[in-house]
């Protein structure tokens, strides 16, 4: 009797371990991080940090002009050091309003549904931009000193 139950326990034990092995096989990719995971995540993290450094150190230069394009076409450039409010008109109606104050440009109003450009932080560094995708308006900061002669000559 006792031997029988002992057998039973033993068989249960092996059954359990085989089930565990099967579960472990099924769970591959779930529980433990393998070496290749660490390598992969390490590479991703390195790229992310490199991007961030590039963004924080190399790329942040204060600009002094903003350039607005609408539908890939030049709309105008404005001085960042001059406090002004720029209504952006498309086809006769004002779709966006850009406010320049304290050397920063900020989209204060837009007639689009998502309002992503309005929520966007103010921009002041070269290369930064505010994009209103529904209206295809791009506002970007540039660093050039001289105003664009071509647009004046037109």
């Amino acid at each position: 009797m006792s031997r029988q139950s002992g057998n039973k326990i033993r068989s249960k034990g092996t059954e359990k371990s085989s089930r565990e092995a099967a579960a472990a096989k099924r769970n591959r990719g779930l529980s433990r991080l393998q070496k290749k995971d660490f390598i992969f995540l390490g590479i991703l993290a390195l790229v992310a940090i490199a991007f961030l450094l590039w963004f924080l150190l190399g790329y942040r230069k204060s600009g002094n002009r903003v350039e607005i394009t609408v539908d890939d076409e030049f709309y105008g450039t404005y001085d960042l050091n001059e406090e002004q409010e720029i209504p952006i008109e498309i086809g006769g109606t004002v779709t966006n309003i850009l406010l320049i104050r304290d050397g920063e440009a900020d989209m204060t109003e837009a007639d689009c549904p998502d309002q992503i450009c309005v929520r966007h932080v103010s921009i002041s560094h070269v290369g930064e931009n505010i994009v209103c995708l529904p209206n295809r308006v791009v506002v970007s900061v540039t660093g050039e000193e001289e105003p664009q002669l071509d647009s004046v000559a037109q």
Binding site: N27, R32, K36, D37, F40, F51, D72, H120, N129
Partner: protein, 171 residues
């Protein structure tokens, strides 16, 4: 006959499960649209729905996960967003799905890596389409921030998904 029957049963079971997962994904989209997640840079979000996509991927399979992902994007776009939202989400969704499928099935990486890469490539896909539409390569300026954000949120989502998948595997 019996075999046929069983096959039918499994198809209806799959249908029901897919429907449930799609509903769950839509719910996640809705919850996410309620969270005011604003860092001043567009595109940073938690990616809750990726939990459901990962769940489908690990519990059912790649085809099913792709279906849920695409259907979710189109429906959520129609319900809570607009045409723009659909196009950008599709670009991000498809790219991140392909990357995740590759990492899971070919590279056999951990769900954490799969999810982290999924977050990164979702952002990259969206950004690439935005850059194409606007024809302004300056947009790539966002890439630095979005890459990092995608990795962080992707890893978080991966942690949550790992726990959920491990528990649901029993069923």
């Amino acid at each position: 006959m019996a075999k046929n029957n069983r096959k039918q049963k499994s198809i209806s079971k799959t249908c029901a499960q897919l429907g449930m997962l799609l509903a769950l994904a839509l719910l996640c989209s809705y919850i996410e649209s309620l969270i005011p997640f604003n860092f001043g840079v567009p595109g940073i979000k938690l990616g809750l729905t990726n939990i459901v996509v990962l769940l489908t991927m690990y519990l059912m399979g790649l085809k099913e996960a792709f279906l849920v992902s695409i259907a979710r994007i189109i429906l959520a776009g129609l319900l809570f967003g607009n045409m723009f939202a659909i196009v950008y989400s599709l670009a991000g969704g498809i790219l991140s799905f392909l990357v995740m499928a590759f990492l899971k099935n070919v590279m056999k990486l951990n769900i954490l890596s799969v999810s982290g890469a999924g977050g990164v490539f979702h952002n990259l896909g969206q950004l690439m389409v935005a850059a194409l539409v606007i024809e302004n390569m300056n947009l790539l300026y966002y890439m630095s921030v979005l890459f990092f954000a995608g990795l962080v949120t992707g890893l978080l989502i991966g942690l949550v998904s790992r726990e959920i998948v491990a528990r649901l595997k029993e069923f």
